[in-house]
Symmetry: C2
Subunit: 250 residues, 2 copies
């Protein structure tokens, strides 16, 4: 067993002041906000009909992508192929406790089925155990297996101490991930302003930050965007965009 | 999209009276109760050290099996090989939304790594959509892939209407599963007396019933046992067995 304190080491992150601003500037356009949303269709109990309705919403709203269950990639492509909405899915979701081999299998299968974005859950237990080599190697295998598809590494921040978060974000960036992501949306906590700020100041500008879990309003989205998030997992997509329209009108 | 009402059809289950008895007979022995417990070590945030401690508990308590995360099978074998405690794991856990291919991969990998029991989550969304062929074929593939290892199919009953439960239990039995299991322990609801009774009267005597999620006391275990459950997923294993000892002493 590794000792988390020893293996995580010091964590000298620049201590940028953490403000929690309301959206102060001009409101973005509906298209600008939609282009930052991954419309999430991940609940395990969703029926085929509910998934189909969600895919139509994603198409109508012109979001960046849908994030569907692995078994729904074909259904998503049937609706979205030819549109600008990307098809994404999840790997090792939501616990991250599957093997590296299984995560790699799922990644390759998803990409072969047409997914162009893959949100993979880090091995939370290994990260908490300080086994950063395991974490980095596993994420590197997934990035490699994704063959150019966008890889977002989900950390489930609610389980992690700050030093574990920082070490994990850095390991994901070292592994070549394109985004670090706050949460699955299925644990006790979701995206927080503090975590978005920490993620943004921990990874370099070439790595994006995705907020997921509890992003249920336009205000939440805009506030987290000001802190550095550029992708948002959301289920309340239409309500968020309709709220934006209403505010821009008056 | 299939219509759940049509494809699930009628569900003529014998309506045995549903009593919720307290344990009435002589108390079983510690060994008898231990032999019905799958000691659960599935929480995603468990560290290596916490898993190791849990494995020692399982060995000391002489439970039927441990149920570990897929990535912990080797650690479990290192502690339990040579004992009577079986090593089990989970597949498609906890959402059941991965593909049949991924579930089959995970099953084969787990069995190759030495797991002799596999708890697999049904595709909840497909079951709710009435796609019983999908459900049955997927579970049959897992049973086949398990090559003789015990397969328990998890239904996550809290998401299912009664007709969906009954159709699902029957599909699992038709697929050759050895147990039907109530819950993952990670959704909003766990094992209930009503569901155990429904499971027991729906499947034939050759298929076992496993209660999981919320089995935190000796009384809960014994009550569900009287209704027909013969395996129990538990994390409070030592407390349950110590309570039994105390009561048997006087």
């Amino acid at each position: 067993m590794a000792d988390p304190q020893n293996s995580l080491g010091d964590t000298p992150v620049s201590a940028a002041p953490l403000n929690l601003p309301r959206w102060a500037g001009a409101l973005p356009t509906r298209a600008q906000v939609a282009a930052m949303i991954d419309h999430s269709l991940l609940r395990p109990e969703l029926t085929d009909a509910e998934v189909a309705a969600g895919l139509r919403t994603a198409l109508e709203c012109q979001v960046a992508s849908v994030c569907v269950r692995p078994s729904d990639i074909a259904a998503a492509r049937a609706v979205l192929d030819g549109s600008r909405v990307a098809v994404g899915t999840v790997v090792g979701f939501p616990h991250g406790s599957s093997t590296t081999g299984a995560k790699l299998f799922e990644t390759r299968e998803a990409v072969a089925a047409g997914a162009t974005e893959v949100d993979v859950v880090v091995h939370i237990g290994r990260l908490r155990s300080g086994d950063l080599g395991y974490v980095r190697d596993e994420m590197a295998a997934v990035v490699q297996g994704a063959g150019g598809a966008i890889v977002k590494v989900i950390f489930e921040n609610c389980y992690l101490a700050e030093a574990e978060k920082i070490a994990g974000y850095r390991a994901a960036e070292a592994a070549g991930a394109h985004y670090v992501k706050t949460s699955t949306g299925f644990a006790s906590g979701g995206a927080t302003a503090e975590d978005i700020a920490l993620m943004r100041r921990t990874v370099s500008p070439r790595t994006g930050v995705k907020a997921a879990g509890g992003v249920r309003s336009l205000d939440a989205l805009l506030e987290l965007h000001q802190l550095g998030a550029t992708r948002f997992g959301a289920t309340a997509t239409r309500a968020i965009l309709d709220d934006l329209d209403a505010r821009r009108r008056g």
